[in-house]
């Protein structure tokens, strides 16, 4: 991979990577740091990464770095706990996008990741499996569970509204 290809990958993928990470970590500063870290890792592996696989490499690296960070910050337990108490919150919503945004936040990180990769980036199941280290079957199961969770959450909140 050449430097020109590397710089093109910044143009092509930095925004998508940032959106993916932002939805996951919900911290703009951290999302930006993770994007930078992912590109730094790409830079150090420049001669080993095929330019056709750079997007997959970036998302794989970003996902792993993000998981490391979440574990370090002990966010997993917080997020897992938070999904059990969504009925108790009294947030007010003005539209579907806010409800959906809140619901995504409450998804377990694996389900959220595969849904974002599927919907935001249009990855195939096998590609998501490669990025996340899950099996293709697990990816499908997480997508199913994630959508069911979102559906039930929207339904419960629409009743509130």
């Amino acid at each position: 991979m050449t430097i020109e290809e590397y710089n093109k990958s910044v143009d092509d993928h930095a925004d998508g990577l940032y959106r993916f990470l932002l939805k996951n970590v919900r911290d703009a500063e951290k999302a930006r740091d993770l994007v930078q870290e992912s590109f730094e890792k790409l830079w150090t592996r420049l001669s080993y990464v095929d330019s056709h696989k750079v997007k997959s490499y970036l998302f794989t690296t970003a996902h792993h770095t993000m998981i490391d960070w979440i574990r370090k910050e002990r966010k997993i337990s917080e997020l897992d706990l938070s999904r059990h108490d969504f009925g108790a919150e009294t947030d007010t919503y003005t539209g579907l996008s806010e409800i959906l945004d809140d619901a995504i936040k409450r998804l377990p990180v694996d389900q959220r990741t595969v849904l974002l990769l599927r919907d935001y980036e249009g990855y195939r199941y096998d590609e998501i499996a490669e990025i996340t280290g899950l099996s293709e079957s697990q990816v499908k199961v997480y997508i199913f569970r994630g959508r069911m969770f979102l559906k039930n959450y929207i339904r419960s909140m629409e009743k509130v509204i």
Partner: protein, 340 residues
């Protein structure tokens, strides 16, 4: 010699697996040379591809075991959600889609669930952009035997900037100036040239400076000669909250440390007398150059040579005349307002 008849077996296993310490491999080969009867045993061990054969042992026609949605005999409330999600995921063929459609016709109460699942498709917000994307990019520094014009120009511009800064600061010890108060602006009259500069230090910094000073000038009318900024201290943002420069025929230049939350002093323009040192070549050159073009060249030169991302912003009035120029350099923001 470590390998002998009594212990060779453990080494031999590693040797056959290719895991033997490379330092011991020659010793093992010598050992086998000495005991040819063992060599024949090795040949018996060789075709032991247990690992590879088990790895290659796969269930044939595994895909035949998999089922498609067509093969699901019943579409009911139990698997309705799964069919809906498969529909949105694009996994259903025409036949399965028709079955789902028929189900929805028969069970209109399920249509709401179907629509709800459609709302779970996440759509990225394209207005969310990665901030500071440009700093992710890398630049190629071309190594050339001979400097090209741009290189030469960049270096010249960089030197010009340093010279400009040097020229703006007095080259001799400053005249003593009284510290008005811990929060007041300190004014540095020039000595031989007509450029003047003011430096604002945050109260904390002034107190630090005071502590560092020798006792005999640690009084209210302390001399601040020792605090005279030079180029290195200018590059150290910790000690300065803001700098103001005024020089003949040059706009007022303000340099503010963005990391310092101290509001800083008011801008105090200083009148400058006509320069008398016309024979000063540097002064003469600086009078002739176009400050804006020089700044643009300097910024480009610095960015190119140092892979920096300095940003130059110019503002013009309705007549197209330059009114304000700012260089954003990370820690420092350098703004220059044109005098009317």
């Amino acid at each position: 010699m470590m390998i002998n008849r009594s212990n060779y077996e453990s080494y031999l296993v590693d040797y056959l697996d290719g895991n033997l310490n490379p330092a011991l491999v020659p010793e093992m080969e010598i050992f086998l040379e000495n005991y040819p009867e063992l060599r024949s045993q090795i040949e018996d061990f060789s075709p032991f591809p247990l690992k590879s054969s088990s790895a290659n042992c796969k269930f044939p026609n595994k895909s035949d075991l998999k089922k498609s949605y067509d093969e699901v005999s019943v579409l009911d409330a139990l698997n309705f959600d799964e069919f809906c999600i498969a529909s949105y995921e694009g996994l259903l063929n025409n036949l399965s889609r028709q079955r789902l459609h028929d189900y929805l016709q028969k069970h209109p109460e399920s249509q709401w669930d179907y629509q709800l699942l459609g709302k779970t498709l996440l759509i990225p917000d394209p207005s969310v952009k990665c901030p500071e994307k440009s700093i992710l990019k890398k630049h190629i520094i071309k190594k050339q035997g001979v400097l090209n014009n741009f290189h030469a120009l960049s270096i010249a511009a960089s030197v010009a900037l340093l010279a400009l800064l040097w020229w703006m600061f007095p080259r001799e010890k400053m005249q003593p100036v009284e510290i008005l108060s811990l929060t007041e602006t300190l004014e540095y009259p020039p000595s031989e040239i007509n450029a003047k500069a003011m430096i604002s230090l945050s109260p904390h910094e002034i107190m630090q400076q005071e502590e560092n000073r020798i006792p005999d000038i640690k009084e209210k009318d302390a001399r601040i000669a020792d605090m005279q900024p030079d180029i290195p201290s200018l590059l150290n943002p910790v000690h300065v909250s803001s700098l103001y420069f005024q020089a003949p025929e040059l706009p007022l230049i303000t340099m503010t440390n963005k990391n310092n939350t101290d509001p800083g002093p008011k801008i105090m323009p200083i009148d400058s007398a006509s320069p008398e040192n016309e024979d000063n070549a540097l002064t003469f050159i600086l009078r002739k150059i176009n400050l804006v073009k020089t700044a643009e060249t300097v910024v480009k030169g610095f960015n190119y040579l140092t892979e920096s991302e300095f940003q130059l912003t110019s503002t013009t009035n309705s007549q197209g005349q330059l009114t304000q120029m700012e260089i954003n350099a990370g820690i420092f923001s350098i703004a220059s307002n044109r005098k009317n």
